[in-house]
């Protein structure tokens, strides 16, 4: 596991088309991080839902996705470059995408990255895989 990168980060324009790109990148990165394929699929779905929720809620120009892993967890943060107040809104926390991301991951938080950008962060506990 020593050759694994600690984190991979990517910026895309805040449009639905680029959400598609993000989720494919997420799946590719998760695969390279040696994660079982059912969990890769869940990460891909969670990224889709979380990014879509950000597009719905935030007047954003771009989205940044950061994926990192350590021995036991995979950590994904999606943050929107843009404005939303309040963040998170009650509507966001009661929405379908939020429910889905919650169901697909072990922990989910809505926060402001660097005290500013509305972001959704989720983690997945990883099943132990030995190479």
């Amino acid at each position: 596991m020593t050759d694994l990168p600690t984190a991979v980060s990517v910026d895309v324009p805040a449009t639905p088309g680029f959400v598609q790109v993000l989720r494919n990148i997420a799946a590719g990165v998760a695969a390279r991080l040696d994660i079982p394929i059912d969990q890769i699929e869940e990460v891909r779905l969670a990224v889709t839902e979380a990014a879509s929720l950000l597009l719905d809620e935030v007047d954003a120009t771009s989205l940044r996705m950061t994926i990192g892993r350590d021995e036991e967890t995979l950590d994904v943060r999606l943050s929107a470059e843009g404005h939303a107040d309040p963040w998170p809104s009650d509507r966001a926390l009661a929405s379908w995408p939020w429910l889905v991301v919650k169901g697909l991951t072990d922990e989910i938080r809505a926060e402001r990255h660097d005290g500013q950008s509305p972001s959704i962060r989720f983690t997945k506990r990883l099943e132990r895989v030995r190479r």
Partner: protein, 248 residues
């Protein structure tokens, strides 16, 4: 003397025909005798955009394969064995047709290999394999595995997938016939109005997974289907929901 299942003739006569194989006359006689079985399954798979004639031909091919491969010593009635073979042939037909439109032949072949490898490994390991593990087991590159997984995701027609124990009933049917209590949860439906546009089975899978917070393993056990299949059904239903809602 009792009649053979799926046939109007006595078991002993059918058994005699099998003993005479590979005599072409006996083979033809058997094919004629069980043709209604092939036609029955061809009709079952109709209404999905393929001409019934093509389906009948495919089902008949499955029947002939079944006749050639049947082993009476096994104690399984021929009709049971033939049904499984015919359904398998029909599914393969749909799979090839569906793929032919958008997936290059070499990717299709890799995808079939990857699909088989994943099923076997999932069973052996008791969990889903990683891309690296699949690549090493199938002796292909990791990029090929990723490409194959994408292709599999794109093609899976869940209505044709994963027969449960009995070859003639699909997982879809057995899920649909379960309790309907989840149908009445207005609170849940109001979260995503497009849920109403999904099939009952798709709604149920999503309900169990995201409203009741069940794990894939639990759902797989409850519905009597594989984890791999649950995983695919969840993905497909979510994707469909996004499409219906006009989203990403």
């Amino acid at each position: 003397m009792s009649r053979a299942a799926g046939s109007s003739r006595p078991e002993e006569e059918i058994a005699e025909l099998f003993r005479r194989l590979p005599d072409p006359a006996a083979r033809e006689d058997l094919a004629k005798e069980f043709l209604p079985l092939a036609e029955y399954f061809a009709r079952r798979f109709s209404g999905r955009g393929e001409p019934v004639d093509d389906l009948t031909q495919t089902a008949s091919l499955g029947l002939l394969n079944a006749i050639d491969r049947f082993d009476p010593e096994r104690g399984v009635p021929f009709s049971t064995y033939a049904a499984a073979t015919i359904v398998g042939e029909l599914k393969r037909h749909f799979r090839d047709r569906g793929w032919a439109l958008r997936v290059p032949r070499n990717v299709q072949e890799t995808a079939i290999l990857v699909n088989r490898t994943v099923s076997a490994m999932w069973q052996d390991l008791g969990r889903a394999p990683t891309v690296a593990e699949i690549a090493s087991a199938a002796d292909i590159g990791e990029d090929d595995v990723l490409q194959a997984l994408d292709a599999l995701q794109a093609y899976t027609t869940d209505s044709l997938d994963a027969p449960t124990g009995d070859a003639t009933s699909t997982a879809a049917e057995s899920i649909g016939s379960e309790d309907r209590s989840f149908e009445v949860s207005e609170e849940w439906l109001s979260l995503a109005p497009a849920l109403r546009d999904l099939s009952e089975r798709e709604r149920k899978i999503l309900y169990l997974r995201f409203f009741e917070g069940r794990t894939q393993t639990e759902i797989a056990d409850e519905l009597g289907i594989s984890q791999m299949h649950v995983s695919r059904l969840v993905s497909q239903s979510l994707e469909k929901l996004r499409e219906k809602a006009g989203g990403v």
